[in-house]
């Protein structure tokens, strides 16, 4: 366990350095005529690369958070529930492609929108997760930091995808329309185990969706760069 913690800390440290990169250059530059735009505009390819990088990191950290949480809070026999729990993910209702062939059939626009939907639907639950994790007595700081990081990065990922949509599809800014508020009843204070299981479910679902986002974006990139090789 100690080795895992040390390793995770190391990975955590390594993962945090891209934050500097992503924070230094704003993703979106408001191009207003006549105004001094202080930010540098970024090319579409670079933006897409950066978004993919975000998604990859988010997935990796979420996977680590899930593992950490599982080791800390979930008894071993219950750990397999994660596979079944994916049915109750909050994003199950979203009309998203679920196979490579399906992804290849849908357009860029829809792909981007799918990613945006996913991102936007997870922003709020992650914030909720932070609050519940704080309520645990012995939640390790590493876990808390990771989940915090993920929720922050998700917001910047959303910004990046919005800009990408604007650049690639020439659409206007989109508002958050996909958040599903009904799933979480904040008034009811959940019991410990239920809370734990719910958080576990949340984490596994988020991990799955992060992987989905990453794959979507990568396939999109393949389409952008080399249409012939992305069979």
């Amino acid at each position: 366990m100690h080795m895992m913690t040390v390793k995770q800390r190391g990975v955590w440290a390594v993962l945090l350095w891209p934050c500097l990169l992503t924070m230094s250059v704003p993703l979106d530059c408001k191009e207003e005529q006549g105004s001094l735009s202080r930010c540098l505009s970024i090319s579409q390819e670079k933006l897409l690369d950066r978004v993919i990088q975000h998604a990859e990191l988010i997935y990796r950290v979420s996977e680590e958070s899930c593992t950490l949480f599982e080791e800390m809070f979930i008894p071993f026999p219950l750990r397999l529930q994660r596979n079944q729990a994916s049915y109750t993910c909050i994003t199950k209702a979203l009309p998203l492609p679920s196979s490579k062939s399906e992804i290849q059939q849908i357009s860029d626009k829809w792909l981007l929108h799918s990613v945006l939907m996913l991102v936007q639907s997870w922003i709020e639950p992650l914030v909720y997760l932070q609050t519940t994790l704080d309520r645990y007595d012995d939640a390790p700081d590493l876990l808390l930091n990771k989940t915090k990081w993920v929720s922050d990065k998700l917001i910047s990922l959303e910004q990046g995808v919005v800009v990408l949509i604007k650049k690639m599809l020439d659409e206007g800014a989109l508002t958050t329309t996909y958040s599903e508020q009904g799933l979480f009843q904040y008034d009811v204070q959940p019991e410990m185990l239920e809370s734990v299981m719910r958080d576990y479910t949340l984490l596994t679902c988020f991990k799955k969706d992060a992987h989905k986002m990453e794959t979507f974006l990568k396939l999109l990139k393949c389409r952008q760069t080399d249409k012939y090789n992305c069979a």
Binding site: E56, Y59, R60, E63, P75, F76, P77, L78, L80, Q81, N83, Q84, A85, S86, Y87, T88, L96, S98, S99, K100, S101, E102, E191, M192, L193, E194, M197, T201, K208, D209, H211, K212, E214, T215, K218, L219, K221, C222, N229, C230, A231
Partner: protein
């Protein structure tokens, strides 16, 4: 984890978790855990990492494994367990549930492979990120279902092993004992890494041939990796596997490759050779050092030869050093008794280079006309002359040493070429009192060209003197701007007393004046000067030592110079020229009779050469007439003008 009846089911407890949730968390979890531990599952879910095959209960048909290789298809294998009656093909059917909507239903396996008990899901039936649950059903609808057999496809991906594994040698350590290899491979063809569909990282493991434990290198997504520190001579086995990044399930290992690097024999050959070379070089260096050290002095002589010190015969070299000009002046002027030895008589013997300028009496008149001056000889002899030619009076007491402190301004030509210890003759006959320095130049330059310098320093005494019937000197009557000295034949000399000198001189002339001998001959006749030691009756020079006639070869050492009239330089040049090995300045020694100088105001004459071979110039003007040179038995100078020592004679005397 809410089941269909609202009760969360756990395969281990078969209890409703909802009922459990009423307990406080602090009590619940330990109870739950403890209760779970000693319960065994009838069927082991293939996804579980723990080995639940501990019970002796009958093992119902179950799935052994579901694997996807490319995240686009997957396969599931089942086993009948202990229910052998169900082991026949077709006895069990596979159903799956794809939980992509609340209304999804169980469907049968799309593709059976009964020989392997495998159910294959092709691309059309495979969806990622959507949970699948697998179920076995017997013919009589007995369902064998384990809830743990639910999965999402990306979580069961085990990529194929990488292909084309090979290695290249990177380098061998200097010690020759270890080496590094670079292993490279390709991604499994089934995994669509290029499109980004799967992100794969690789793990290399290696071990020695007969070892049991594998060494695992760090996982990384590149398709090459370096293995460091393998030992020469040992054989290594290397294999590789991969998995999806941030996932847990590894694919299978690839086939092993074997790496072995044997010793390179040539290293053994080169190492002793290098050692031998090194030692040999070191030994040679030491030997050279010893030689140098032992022969230190000789090397010093070769590398840093001693610089010859300035030397004047008869003069202490110490005096020639900087700062002692006054003393030297004094000595050279004949002040001290340890002055220049009187070598005058000896100087003219056998000196081929001594030349005397002979001036015929006939030509004296013509020369006079040319010069438009009074007879120089007459002047020399003290005949009344305008005392305008004191041009070099300023130089009279000046010995123009090539010294910075000397009174060079007036008598010394700063442009003279640098000769070691060049003593320049400052003889300027005041025939044309114009250009002291010019005439000095000529005088001084003349010796330089061919044979080095035999500068003749002549101190001039005051007062012109006229020579009756003789021309002792080659009078520089004019100095051309180009540096040529115009000599006028002047007065007659007592030629008859100076025949021997001529002979020697002509010999020299023959050598020197190849080019313009004819003209020289003529002019020689015209300008036959003799430097004679003249009796100072009425003049201060005896002519007894008229050693040589100094012909006036037109061949000047500087053929380019424009000598218009009689080439005067021979006086200066020839004698100077032949003085090869004596760079020290020369001063024609005057006869010991100092009063010789009195009638010869135009010349600075070396009066004496003292014992130290230093020349005394400017002897006291009113001395008693010196005895004739023949009175100096040691060296009988033939017909030498008293006041002059030609450089070669001087050279004769030098040690």
């Amino acid at each position: 984890m809410v089941g269909s009846d609202g009760c969360s089911l756990s395969p281990y407890t078969y209890t409703c978790i909802m009922a459990v949730s009423s307990f406080s968390s602090s009590l619940l979890l330990p109870l739950l855990i403890s209760s779970l531990d000693w319960l065994s599952t009838p069927g082991s879910a293939f996804l579980s990492d723990r080995d639940h095959m501990t019970s002796s209960a009958p093992l119902e048909p179950h799935f052994t494994e579901c694997i996807s290789r490319d995240q686009e298809t997957f396969r599931c294998w089942w086993s009948p367990g202990t229910f052998h009656n169900l082991s026949s093909p077709g006895a069990l059917t596979v159903f799956y549930l794809k939980k992509d909507s609340p209304t999804s239903e169980w469907k049968e396996c799309p593709e059976y492979n009964h020989s392997k008990r495998e159910c294959f899901f092709d691309v059309n039936h495979t969806s990622v990120w959507i949970p699948y649950c697998m179920q076995l059903r017997s013919q009589n609808n007995v369902i064998f279902f384990n809830e743990d057999d639910c999965f999402t496809v990306e979580n069961i991906v085990r990529p194929d092993p990488p292909v084309s594994l090979n290695w290249t040698l990177l380098n061998i350590s200097p010690s020759g004992l270890s080496y590094d290899v670079m292993v490279n491979w390709e991604a499994p063809p089934s995994a669509d890494v290029g499109a980004g569909w799967m992100r794969i990282e690789y793990e290399i493991q290696y071990r020695e041939r007969n070892a049991t434990n594998w060494e695992a290198l760090e996982m990384q997504p590149q398709t090459q990796q370096t293995i460091y520190g393998l030992h020469i001579g040992k054989e290594y086995e290397v294999h590789i596997r991969c998995r999806m990044q941030a996932f847990t399930k590894f694919g299978e290992f690839s086939d092993s490759i074997f790496i072995q690097v044997t010793e390179i024999p040539r290293r053994d050959n080169t190492t002793p050779l290098t050692l031998i070379l090194v030692f040999g070089i070191v030994g040679i260096l030491i030997l050279l050092m010893l030689i140098v050290i032992s022969q230190q002095h000789r090397f010093m002589m070769i590398v840093l030869p001693p610089v010859p010190a300035p030397k004047i015969k008869g003069i202490d070299p110490e005096l020639l050093k900087r700062g002692k000009l006054d003393e030297l002046n004094f000595i050279l002027s004949g002040g001290g008794m340890g002055g220049l030895p009187t070598y005058a008589a000896d100087f003219y013997q056998d000196e081929p280079w001594v030349e005397f300028i002979e001036v015929d009496a006939e030509d004296a008149d013509t020369a006079e006309k040319d010069d438009n001056q009074g007879s120089d000889t007459q002047r020399l002899l003290g005949l009344p002359q305008p005392v305008s030619h004191h041009m070099n009076i300023g130089c009279s007491n000046v010995i123009s040493f090539p010294d910075d402190d000397s009174g060079r301004a007036s008598c010394y030509d700063p442009d003279l070429p640098d000769q070691d210890a060049l003593m320049l003759m400052a003889t300027l006959l005041p025939g044309q009192p114009e250009d002291e320095e010019a005439s000095l130049d000529v005088v001084e330059r003349a010796p330089t060209p061919e044979r080095g310098e035999r500068p003749l320093i002549q101190t001039q005494t005051a007062g012109p003197q006229t020579w009756v019937n003789t021309d002792f000197y080659a009078q520089v009557s004019n100095v051309m701007p180009s540096g040529g000295v115009v000599l006028s034949p002047g007065q007659q000399l007592r030629i008859q007393e100076s025949t021997s000198a001529t002979e020697d001189e002509t010999q020299k002339k023959g050598q020197e004046c190849e080019d313009s001998e004819e003209t020289e001959e003529k002019k020689q006749k015209e300008l036959q000067f003799q430097l004679l030691v003249v009796n100072p009756e009425g003049s201060s020079y005896t002519t007894e030592s008229n050693a040589q006639q100094i012909s006036t070869p037109p061949c000047s050492p500087m053929p380019g110079e424009g000598y218009q009239t009689i080439p005067p330089p021979p006086v200066e040049t020839k004698p100077a020229a032949t003085m090869e090995d004596n760079p020290s300045p020369y001063i024609l020694p005057d006869s010991p009779q100092s009063q010789f100088f009195a009638p010869v105001a135009d010349y600075t004459v070396v009066q004496e050469v003292d014992s130290q071979h230093s020349l005394l110039l400017n002897p006291p003007p009113h001395q008693s007439p010196p005895p004739c040179l023949p009175q100096h038995p040691p060296k009988a100078l033939p017909a030498m003008p008293v006041g002059y020592i030609t450089p070669d004679l001087l050279g004769n005397l030098s040690p």
